[in-house]
């Protein structure tokens, strides 16, 4: 084993273990998962009717006939995940940053710390996406394929906002700025994807928002019985772009002028 491989084998598992621990020990996030996710779904069931809506699948050009309530359950579920995962990862990243600087000074490789945080974020996103998909079953029973598509879409959108939380965690100066950016981003982004009460839904401009890919994938699977893998990859590309930006900012903010 080379010296570099030895370093990775030693530093990466330790960093991953503590990154997962940091991102999952947020009590508020657990509370929101337990209460906010089902409450938000319940609200959708209470206020949105079954009226059919047209939902456009951009990659195939097909106009789907979707049940308004079921579509709203998908987008509302995604909205709650973006907020919870975004906040949890943002708070964990910010809290850990001073110690991360010290660890880098002591010889921790910056790329390994960020890789560990990124993988921890993906694991958390997958877990939270699966949880939201299970909660959804209490309100709506789609086909197995449709449910799997909603699960995958939820996990990917959670990954996108977790990655955004990581980027903001190393970028912004105060807690409030980060929280506002996540709230505003998530509201605009997920609201626009749903044609219920939204005049610009089904327009091409939506393609430029992070939640576009996961929403298209979930709705395509649930209502069109289609697996639009390209849309899922688009969501992962957003997550990757946020993570790479986070890595660049992290490297600047933890830079040591002379290595011991």
């Amino acid at each position: 084993m080379s010296a570099a491989e030895h370093l990775v084998a030693r530093q990466f598992p330790t960093a991953l273990q503590f990154a997962v621990r940091n991102q999952t020990r947020n009590r508020l996030a657990w509370l929101l998962l337990a209460l906010f996710v089902p409450a938000w779904d319940l609200l959708m069931v209470a206020i949105v009717s079954h009226k059919p809506l047209e939902f456009k699948l951009f990659s195939t050009g097909v106009l789907l006939q979707a049940d308004g309530r079921e579509l709203s359950l998908i987008t509302a579920g995604m909205n709650s995940l973006t907020l919870i995962v975004g906040f949890a990862v943002f708070a964990a990243t910010r809290r850990a940053l001073p110690l991360d600087r010290r660890l880098v000074f002591a010889g921790y490789r910056q790329s390994l710390l960020v890789a560990a945080k990124s993988l921890a974020t993906m694991l958390v996103a997958a877990g939270v996406g699966a949880y939201a998909a299970v909660v959804l079953l209490a309100f709506w029973r789609p086909s197995i394929g449709g449910w799997a598509a909603v699960l995958a879409g939820s996990a990917v959108i959670a990954a996108e906002y977790g990655a955004l939380g990581l980027l903001l965690g190393v970028l912004v100066k105060g807690d409030l700025e980060g929280f506002f950016l996540i709230i505003m981003g998530s509201l605009v982004d997920t609201f626009l994807q749903n044609p219920v009460g939204n005049p610009i839904a089904n327009r091409p401009v939506l393609e430029y928002f992070p939640s576009f890919g996961p929403t298209q994938f979930a709705a395509g699977g649930a209502f069109g019985h289609a697996a639009l893998w390209g849309e899922l990859v688009l969501g992962l590309a957003w997550a990757a772009a946020f993570l790479v930006s986070g890595l660049i900012v992290f490297q600047r903010r933890t830079r040591v002028r002379r290595h011991p």
Partner: protein, 216 residues
């Protein structure tokens, strides 16, 4: 010619238009214990951060040879992690094979009982002990300490000096930043930082009988 393990030449640093350091020179040999004293806001912590490399100088040169241990003034720790988890994290950073040194320091500073507590549960003094220990785990060649004994009780203060003395004898160059010197005879050299320069150098020569005297 400079023979120090820490050599600084004409170091300048400003924050915006506020000039903090205006040409600092230092030459600190291995195995010496140096204090840098000065009033609040004199630029002591800035100088230490420049020596550590966590801050870049605007001008001048800094050469620090060998491994460095840096203990910041405010404890830099993670509330969610236990004392032991901090040791494991830093052992990975320093690439240490064992936690033997950590265990020695836990004993020496009397906080073994807190090994499995999270930082959130620790008192200010115990946090400071952990903060210091993390800078010492790898037995560095150069040790930079910013107000290291703030918050220590008298017993811990004495134990701190035992550890420092042991390191000095082993050849470590130690720089202590402080605004309060209780016992100046402990130091080989006192530097005073005033208006951005090392204004005054006081050498404390320790003769063979161990009775120190202070001379200019």
């Amino acid at each position: 010619m400079a023979d120090g393990i820490i050599v600084a030449r004409q170091v300048h640093k400003a924050y915006g238009r506020h000039s903090v350091l205006r040409g600092v020179d230092l030459d600190i040999p291995a195995g010496t214990l140096v204090a840098i004293v000065g009033e609040n806001g004199a630029g002591k912590s800035t100088l230490l951060q420049l020596l550590a490399g966590t801050l870049a100088a605007d001008d001048g040169s800094i050469d620090v040879r060998g491994s460095v241990g840096y203990c910041p003034q405010e404890p830099v720790l993670n509330d969610a992690l236990t004392v032991d988890q901090h040791f494991r994290y830093f052992a990975a950073a320093y690439q240490l094979r064992t936690l033997h040194r950590a265990e020695q320091l836990l004993d020496a500073l009397h906080f073994s009982d807190y090994r499995h507590r999270t930082v959130a549960e620790l008192s200010g003094g115990t946090r400071q002990k952990l903060n210091l220990t993390l800078a010492l785990l790898h037995d560095p060649d150069v040790l930079l300490l910013d107000e290291p004994y703030q918050g220590f009780d008298w017993e811990t203060y004495l134990r701190f000096w035992d550890i420092v003395e042991e390191l000095r004898r082993a050849g470590t160059a130690i720089v202590v930043i402080t605004h309060l010197i209780f016992e100046r005879e402990r130091f080989d050299t006192l530097y005073s930082l005033d208006r951005g320069r090392i204004a005054d150098e006081t050498a404390t020569v320790v003769p063979p009988d161990g009775n120190a005297y202070v001379g200019r």
